[in-house]
Subunit: 305 residues, 2 copies
Amino acid sequence: MAVPKRDREIAIVERLARRFRMKAAGVVVGIGDDTAVLRRDKTSYWLLSVDMLVESVHFAPRESRERIGYKAVAVSVSDIAAMGGVPRYALLSVGLPRRRAEGTVAALANGISRAARMFDVAVIGGDTNRSERLVVDVAMVGVVERRFLVLRSGGRDKDVLFVSGPLGGSQSGRHLSFVPRLEAARYLVCHFKVHAMMDLSDGLARDLGRLARASGLGAVLDEERIPVHRNGRGRASALYDGEDFELLFSMSETEAERLLGQVRRGKTPLRFYPVGRLTRRFRGVWLSDKKGRRRRLGSGGFSHF
Amino acid sequence: MAVPKRDREIAIVERLARRFRMKAAGVVVGIGDDTAVLRRDKTSYWLLSVDMLVESVHFAPRESRERIGYKAVAVSVSDIAAMGGVPRYALLSVGLPRRRAEGTVAALANGISRAARMFDVAVIGGDTNRSERLVVDVAMVGVVERRFLVLRSGGRDKDVLFVSGPLGGSQSGRHLSFVPRLEAARYLVCHFKVHAMMDLSDGLARDLGRLARASGLGAVLDEERIPVHRNGRGRASALYDGEDFELLFSMSETEAERLLGQVRRGKTPLRFYPVGRLTRRFRGVWLSDKKGRRRRLGSGGFSHF
């Protein structure tokens, strides 16, 4: 299976972003983060995301429709979580092959419904269309308290970088059944000062590049500390496979120690893995081995776009 | 070109709607109208719509990408207008064939940008993916003053039914270049008591069936009064072609006379066509000829789904 989002997408989205008027009234953050951010009231923001899943790109044609429905909602919940918020409402657009349309809808609805119950999301709108290939697009609305909003761009020099779980090998099945890190994200923003956060959809190397660039910094990963999932094939898999849907976040060294202390003392069952640092000394993403030798990471892999 | 939405879609959407928890906090209207409606503040609501356009279903593979971009935004603006509101923000999901991806994006962006400027919409988010066929999905956020919100379900016995322009033959080109009736809708809700309103995407016969059913009423169309577009092929075309994106609305006889008076006296350059009545005497949509003979309309055409 192809990992869907690649540098070429980013180039396209960035080009589009420049085309459009971004300084509209009420818009706090436009294109370029996990979700758009709109003013809601004095203490909170709306979060808005869209995520499209396309047959033969994000899932195999024979894949269970129930799992696809679940994934469509889970991917959007992951976006909302990465901003520090909680999901509220979803609107679904479905492009449906004529063949076995009824069965497809019933199975999709099972998966969507399961995810919606799990994350307390109300499905409030939809658009069903014919299509040669199955396409499921979810527009999600979430809410975040102003003080808990975390952007990609808030990283600071010397921040410790964390991920919320082992990475790599997601395509063996986890990419369809993962649990978005909503609980972990809310634990973090409610109890700690998180500087920058995003969810890992395109692989640690590429996504960390985005977080560091958005923060105007570089990043160094400690090769030995990157947690590799048991389904992953070594470190390269953890760096490049994508679709992990774990959180990547940064906080000051003081906060990082406090977080690790809480974990050590069993105050939370959640796990967090320090994997490196943000730095203003250089740009790009670097990998440091146990002897302290550094090499620069490319965005890696090859473009499936 | 196939008209995209048909009875089968409605059956599917209605089935989905029952599956999902509709009584969520903050939701004024869920699935079943042109947009979802959420509480915003004491005097206004948010409106949320999603509309997907799929290659070979909503537009021919060789169609201009610029026109497709324009249509994608215009269709959503039409939904927001039909609720009485004004559009504010759009989030785009694009499924993009690998071949000539850059050229496609540039042309799409031209059309999206033209529509966004025309209707004062800020594009605040996006998701670009690979896809065999071009798919463009727009999630749109609008705002409506509480007192101006109009639903499909507000129609009353003896209401006069209007459409905002001639119908039929849209597939000859108008379906890609139509101007959504935002100005007309705002004129109506700001100056008149409109009981029910929707936009005409699937043909007058089918869409009026929905409005009447949502209002718990039946409807009679005066065959002679249905305005047929010069590109349409007779009355059947006006009833069944679809993709007209004109407004269909109902108001009391008193309001209807006031509206027609304003038009006659040149107080507005807009045109409105009275085409029939809502009634509680029977269910379904009926066509009345000049001799007063009535025949019941099926939902008509054949399902392209």
